[in-house]
Symmetry: none
Subunit: 192 residues, 4 copies
DNA sequence: CATGAATGAGGCTTCATTCAT
DNA sequence: AATGAATGAAGCCTCATTCAT
C-alpha cells in the first residue's frame, strides 16, 4: 500500500469520524494528510470513491482479523467468544473508524446499498453461520439465527460506541466478559 | 401542534431517513411538505434547529410511550419485557424516524452533544435503572448495569434497523420473543 | 396628512438613517411604526415608493421652511445668511433625515435621477439664483454661480453631518457664524 | 499588487459607484471582473471585507498623493491651495471611487465606524492641522479649525460630485480657482 | 380596513473538481 | 507527479410582496 495513500486514508478517517463525511471538505483532508488537494484525485476518483474505499478497506481489515482468529478454534461457542473479543479489540484500536463506519452504514439506502450488502455478508453472516452451526449441533437454542446474529453485532457495536462517547476509558476485558456472559447465559440469575 | 409544522416534521423525517440530514436540502423538505421554502423558517430557526427539534420531538414521543407502559408493571423482568416490545413497536410504527435517529445519534461529538446526553438519560438510563433494581432484588446477574443496558438498546435498535433494511416484513412478535429469550436466558441451551 | 402615514414616515426615517434603506426591512419599519406589515402597502406602492416619498416629503418640508424665511428679506447677503441658519436648523431638528438624505442622494444614477434633479432645482438652484443676483448687483465676486452654490451646500451639509457623527453636541449658532464668516469673507485674515 | 485582485477592485468600484454597494451582487462583480464567483472569495473574506478593503485602499492612495504634494511647500496657504488641487485631481481621476466613497462614508454608524474614524484622521485632520498652524501664525482667522476643515472638505467633495453628476465636463482648473478664491477670500466683494 | 402567514426570487457563500504550471 | 488557483453548481437563508381572514 502506497504510503501517501495510507496518509490520506488516516487523515480521512480522522476527519470523517469527527465531523462526518459530508461535513468534511477535501481541502481539510488534504491539509491533514499533508498533501495538495489535487493529489487526492490521483488516488481516488472523487469524494464518494474515497468514502467507499475507506469503508471497504476498514471492513476487510476487521473481517480478516476476525476470520483469522476464529479459524483457530472449532466450537461455535469458542468462535463467538473470540468474535466478541476481536471485534471489541478492533474497535478499541480504531475508534475513529468505528464511529465513522457506524454512521455511514446506517444511512443512505441507494448508492451504498451494494457496499452494505457486502459488509453484511462479510460480517454479520459470519456470526449467523456460526449460530446456525451451533443450533444444528444442539448447543444453541432454536432462535432465528439472523436475529441472534444481528443482536450480537448490535450489542458489541453500540456498547463500544457508547463507551467511546460517554466514558473516558474503555475497559475492554470487563466489557467482553459482560457481553459474553449476557449473550450466552442471559441476564436472569439461574435459580437452581 | 400546528398541522403545518407536523407536515414539515413528517417531510423532514421522510427525507432525512432516506438520504441523511446533510444530503437533504431545505428545498426538498419544503417541496415534500407542500409548503414554500420560506415557510420552513417560520417554524424553525434554521436547518440545525429543525434537526434538533425533530430528534427531541421523536425521542419524547418514544420515551413517553415506553414510560407509560412500564409504569403499569412492577417487576424488573416484566418491565424489560415491556420495553423490548414497546420499543420495537415504536420503531415499527416510525421506521423512518428510527433510521434517522440512529444515524444522527451515533457519530460525532459536535453540537448535538447536549441532545445526545438528554436522549441517553431519557432512554438508556431507564433501562439501566431497571437493571440496577433487578440486581439489587437478586433476580439479575451482577453485571455492569450500564453495559447491560446499552447492550439491550443495541440489540433492539440494530435488529430493528437490520430488518427494515434487509427484509420485506418485520415479524415483530417473533423478534420480540427472540430478543427477550436471548437477553434473559442467553443463547446457550441449558444442559440440565 | 394621515397620522398612520406619518408614523410610518417617522419609523422609516428612523430606521433608514441608522442602517440605510437597503439594510432596513419592511418588517422592521412596520414594527417600529406599530402597524402590520401589510398596512405599509396601503400607503405606499412598494419599498421604492416609500423611499421616494420620504425624500420628496423631507425635501419639500425643508425647502418650504427655507423659502418662507428668505422671502422675508431682500438683499442676497441677508438671504444667504438666512439659508445657512435655516438649513442648519432643519438638519438639527431632523438629524436622521439628514443622514438618510445624504446617503440616498449621492448614490444611484438611474432610477433616482429625476428625483435628484428635482431636489437640486428645489435646493441648490435657490442658492444659485441668489448668488447670480448678488453678482449682478455687484456685491458678490464673479465666480461661477453653480460652483459657488454647490460649495455652500457642501459646506453646510457635510459640516452638519460631521458634527452629528463625531461630536456629542451641535453648537448650531457657533457653526452658523463660522460658516457665514468663512463663506462671506474667507479664511484669510484681511491684512489692511 | 496581484493583477487579478486589481481587476476585482476595479470592477467593484465600477459597480458600487453605479448602484451602491448593497445593490451590487457579488455575481455582478465577478462577471465585470471577468473571474468566477468563487474567485472573489480567494481574495476577500466576504462582501464586507471587499468593501472595507476598497475604502482603505482608495483612501490610502488619495491621502498619500495629497500628503506627498503638501510636503513640498511650507506655508499653510500654499498647503491648502495644493490640497484643493490635488483632491480635485484625484477625484477627477477616480470619479467612480469618489462616488462610492461619499456614499459609503456618510450615513450609518455601523461597523464601518472604525474605518470612518481612520479616514477622518487621515484626511480631514490633515487640513485641520494646517488651519491650526495658520491660525497660530496669524494668517488665518480665529475660526473653529474643525468646522473650517470639514467645510473645505465638503466644498471640494460635494462640488466634485455635483459636477460629475450634472455636467458633462469637469473644468478642474476653473473649479479649483473658484474654490480657493471662495475659501480664502470669501464671496463678498471687498469694498475698499 | 388591518393583519401577518405564506411564498419564492435572489443574494451570499461553500466546496468538489479541474487543469495549467 | 504534485500542486493549488480558479470555477460554478448548489445550498442556506432573507425579505419584498401578496392575500385570505
Amino acid at each position: 500500500m502506497n504510503s501517501k495513500k495510507e496518509r490520506i486514508f488516516t487523515a480521512a478517517i480522522d476527519k470523517f469520524s469527527q465531523k462526518g463525511s459530508t461535513n468534511t471538505t477535501m481541502q481539510e483532508i488534504a491539509e491533514t494528510a499533508g498533501v495538495g488537494k489535487g493529489t487526492l484525485y490521483r488516488y481516488f476518483e472523487n469524494k464518494e470513491d474515497l468514502i467507499y474505499s475507506l469503508i471497504q478497506y476498514g471492513i476487510n481489515k476487521m473481517t480478516n482479523q476476525v476470520k483469522e482468529k476464529i479459524s483457530q478454534v472449532e466450537l461455535p461457542l469458542e468462535k463467538l467468544k473470540i468474535i466478541v473479543g476481536a471485534q471489541l479489540e478492533f474497535y478499541d484500536q480504531h475508534q475513529n473508524f468505528c464511529k465513522f463506519l457506524t454512521r455511514e452504514i446506517w444511512g443512505y439506502q441507494s448508492k451504498f446499498e451494494d457496499y452494505i450488502k457486502e459488509i453484511r455478508s462479510n460480517n454479520t453472516v459470519i456470526i449467523e453461520n456460526i449460530i446456525k452451526d451451533g443450533i444444528e449441533r444442539g448447543v444453541f437454542k432454536e432462535l432465528n439465527a439472523e436475529t441472534a446474529a444481528v443482536s450480537l453485532s448490535g450489542m458489541i457495536n453500540i456498547t463500544a460506541l457508547h463507551w467511546f462517547m460517554f466514558q473516558d476509558k474503555f475497559p475492554i476485558e470487563k466489557i467482553r466478559n459482560d457481553i459474553i456472559q449476557l449473550y450466552f447465559n442471559g441476564i436472569k440469575k439461574s435459580n437452581i
